[in-house]
Symmetry: C3
Subunit: 438 residues, 3 copies
């Protein structure tokens, strides 16, 4: 019974957030009435140069991915639709506020002005961080209470912000679409939490850990929205102009190629040659994950397709052959298969990013080098060195994710959060007033 | 049997609209081929300064809220999904045309040029007016025929346009996101209509006035889209630049805080500590309503959160404790609980707007004052006076909504519209060819 | 059993596409890092002049129409939801890649530079071509294997590109929203294929060729998205400024009027005066099809409404009276009724386009004439001649669609694609692992 725990957690967290916002957060130069008008008159700017017009449509697409995409993707379970959409909604609404503070804290630290300034770019970054929490949610779906999930989010958001700060600010890595910061981090963090929360008797809820016909259709709403808007996701915070444009296009082609690989391999690994909805719902998205780092680079359209094709292939094969092994041998009960959708494709994306960065030349990028690899442009480092930075960043991410997940997993194992018993997992009825079947 | 009434109503209304458009409506300077090109050469403008690029993405988000958001939000009823989405579709398609004329008439009157000029901004305003009609639809959902709804829309759109004109043009109030013009007006108008149409024997349809598992999931599609795109709704017609940017961001944080309040109080008011889908589907949106007036002002992010938190709280408590009282004591059968989602949060939003306006200083707004409070900027009035204007506007809105609803309610009570009997309310079968259950 | 055929088809097609992309496709000037930065410095351009910001929001709306709109519109069948969304997803992901090559080949031919240059405009055009394939898919829905559909797409995309090239480049016709190139072509091609693939014993699957309650609600998701975003569809590739703006607005009003006509006539043709979901789901969209050519022209808002009203009327009447005749007399089994939604309204749109073009004067268009009718503007031809071009284009489109559909139909009749038997049409189970009913 969560009658005290859930309200207490929600209200206390929100009050803390409001107090921190009141003391730390200010409008940035593009959202503040006075400052923007000063900026316009000083720098002879026009309203259409406000950051809003460069990024708000992308932001809204990302927002749809977070709330509809992730939310409905997880409704595939037959009796966990309310919780899938509903807890996704709750922890996302919390995480985006908390992420604004955590990311702003580290970002402000590097700027050294003591205040957190926010606008559409910080909103996108907050949604990104939220995405990482939702990936981890996918690994523990059906086996955790909403209080547990909020506590997980509190820690994960902080660790995400630390990892992101190390990668982007300290190491100078590039990761606009978050192959490392979002997908690799969220997946391996969540898998480690799932490992610690391993339930040996989960088979008591086995009958509910599957889909029904219409729940699979609801899940396809999530899948298709994630697929369509992934170009916006990867390009949302890249530099203005050719960078946003190119990133969106690379992602578009990567996803298209990934989809053909997914359908092909899904039929191939089935003895009857039948397609499996689990593959289509998930593996077809791996192409977006896998160009999360290299998407803004001059990856070329056919390069993007190769990456997408590989991602769809390893993701589908992972669902078929690797997931059962992870569960039986490593005792990782990965409800949504986030290792196949975000874990392996995220690592692939990091590697592709490192290689593409190392291959960058001024011949290819021209003056556009400054936007993509500022340190290479200014001759601080060589392109190879940028590749090394990217590779180190992957290792750091894996380390922080696994270690963080281990510690947070043990925190979440405390028997104080109203976690469901093994017999009532994957079941809305424990947390929701549920109406009858139709 | 609506075989004659519904076609006659649809076709006659559409023919009247076409004739009025033919005589009164013209492309505005941004949509007319000749005028836009003249404008570009005269004022040395570029195509990217066309209003389209400032507002069309927001328009489309608003459009999704109107047709998917409102439409699917109301599909929560077990056997009224066709009517919820379908009648929403019909009356919205009618209202947006009719609103173009009514709003254009009053807007043109203040411009005094005899013609109605239309473009993306009038499209957004037409969708806004439509939203108000759909709010009223929520109060009478399941108990009205499509002919009745169209007749309601005819009158409500006209009254909306009058009220909007009084508030924005005559009184000089600010209400970009429509806490007053859209939400307060639509809710209290609809509630008064529902009062007049009170059905003492509605309990004969009681078994159908509830949800089933999948109908609640369909409704969540509506909820989530409304929630995600509310930042676009509130910012769609605010001034270019920092205003649109700030309004969107204030709304984003208000909604996030509102969601945590809703989850917290939903569990708290349940004896078993279980979440109620009705609260999540509705109260989580109150934060968007409540910053509809103040969202464009320098409300600050934490101010937005406080407003959102309050809105979620009163909305959830309203569903639990006030709605039963309204039905039993005041005889208002409010199917969707619009009083909790739009009524009280709308009034709250109007009050917050009045206070925030009264607190405006040049120190805070700088030259941006002109966009938000033009009359204060030009020293015509003080900020306090602007606050008074806002407060008067709330009173005017409540008056017009309640009186209008009363009159229109009696018009709708005439037994000529094919209204359903008490025994077949909340039932698609009376107006639709319905296929079997699966 | 497709265990070999489907993977082989997917993988071989994707490998061919990747090789062709590697040899033929390059970033265009707006997506290439070096070239865009050169362009900015040479022509004193700013990042906000990158084509991305003019077209990407429209592109994403079109993308939603292709994957959610078409995909879910076809889920109305009770046991074909996986295939409707899933095959739509597969053939769209393939077609958009293949279309990039085919359209680029013809487009490049007219430019004569040997390479295909891609960016957001080519992405929109690729999605458009994909839309045409999905229209044809609607005609053969439930009766074709995914291998068959991919083979159909291979040929249809090529024929689409040829027809488009003849119309837009050789004949100099205007067809921004594709009344001819997309809708007329896709519909009559698909109908001819359906004719060749006629199944005399299809009534053996009759019980599955219908909807259930929730499948109709899923279909409404598709309908509403198509309806809402059609203004973006028609305006996505029109000229910057007033053209995009006007096209979107014309489409908005055409659709609104169409919706009222659809509801009116749907009730009128029912003996009991009941609305039919088939009409609402489809005919209400005909207004978007019918202004696909004239939408960018100075059609006027009331002109758009008249066109939309006519389109909704003929489409609804077509479903009621013409479709049964087509099936019985002409042996065309048109599963989704694409003749009523895309065929007749497409032809209507072509005729309206021809008339509106012929009526163009410099008095009305001013300098905006250059964007809409460049050849009339430069005095190469008269407006009447432009009208003749449009009319010839309709005839050419019908010819290529019907002849192409005939030939491709016979190719698809070969018994090598794993086509379903007459007894198991409209059934997911033959191609998908299907979970239990709930």
């Amino acid at each position: 019974n969560l009658r005290v725990k859930l309200p207490a957690t929600c209200i206390v967290l929100e009050v803390i957030i409001i107090i921190l916002f009141a003391t730390l957060v200010e409008y940035d130069h593009d959202t503040d009435a006075k400052h923007w008008h000063e900026e316009m008159s000083k720098h002879n700017k026009s309203n259409y140069e406000n950051e809003f017009y460069f990024r708000y449509p992308s932001f809204q697409d990302v927002h749809v991915m977070i709330f509809i995409g992730f939310g409905f993707l997880m409704t595939f379970l037959q009796r966990y639709g309310f919780s899938s959409v509903g807890f996704n909604f709750l922890i996302a609404a919390f995480s985006l506020q908390w992420a604004t503070l955590m990311q702003g804290f580290f970002h402000g630290m590097s700027e050294g002005n003591g205040k957190i300034h926010i606008g559409v770019e910080s909103m996108i970054n907050a949604d990104f961080c939220t995405g990482s929490v939702l990936i981890s949610f996918g690994a523990v779906l059906g086996k955790t209470s909403p209080v547990q999930l909020l506590v997980m989010a509190v820690f994960e958001v902080a660790l995400f912000a630390i990892n992101e700060f190390i990668l982007l600010s300290a190491l100078g890595a590039r990761d606009a679409g978050g192959s490392m910061t979002i997908h690799t981090f969220g997946a391996y963090f969540g898998l480690m939490v799932a490992r610690v929360l391993y339930r040996p008797h989960l088979d008591k809820s086995k009958d509910k850990n599957s889909s029904v016909y219409h729940s699979d259709l609801f899940a396809m709403i999530g899948t298709i929205y994630l697929w369509m808007f992934w170009p916006s996701f990867n390009s949302a915070v890249t530099a203005h102009g050719d960078d946003q444009h190119r990133t969106a296009m690379n992602t578009y082609y990567s996803l298209a190629a990934c989809t053909l690989a997914t359908y092909g391999f899904s039929a191939l690994v089935s003895p009857e040659g039948k397609l499996d909805m689990v593959h289509i719902q998930n593996a077809a998205l791996a192409g977006g994950v896998a160009v999360g780092t290299a998407g803004e680079m001059m990856l070329t359209p056919f390069g993007s397709m190769i990456v997408g094709f590989l991602a769809g292939t390893i993701s589908t094969l992972g669902f078929k052959y690797l997931s059962p092994v992870l569960e039986e041998k490593l005792r990782i009960q990965d409800t949504c298969g986030v290792h196949n959708l975000h874990g392996m494709p995220g690592v692939l994306g990091a590697i592709v990013g490192a290689i593409t960065a190392a291959a960058a030349t001024r011949e290819i990028y021209g003056e556009g080098m400054e936007d993509v690899f500022p340190d290479v442009h200014s001759n601080n480092i060589t392109a190879s060195m940028q590749g090394v930075r990217q590779a180190i960043s992957l290792a750091v991410t894996l380390g922080i994710a696994l270690l963080g997940g281990l510690i947070v997993g043990f925190i979440l194992k405390l028997p104080i959060y109203g976690s469901p018993p093994d017999t009532i997992c994957f079941e809305d009825g424990i947390y929701w007033e549920v109406p009858g079947e139709e």
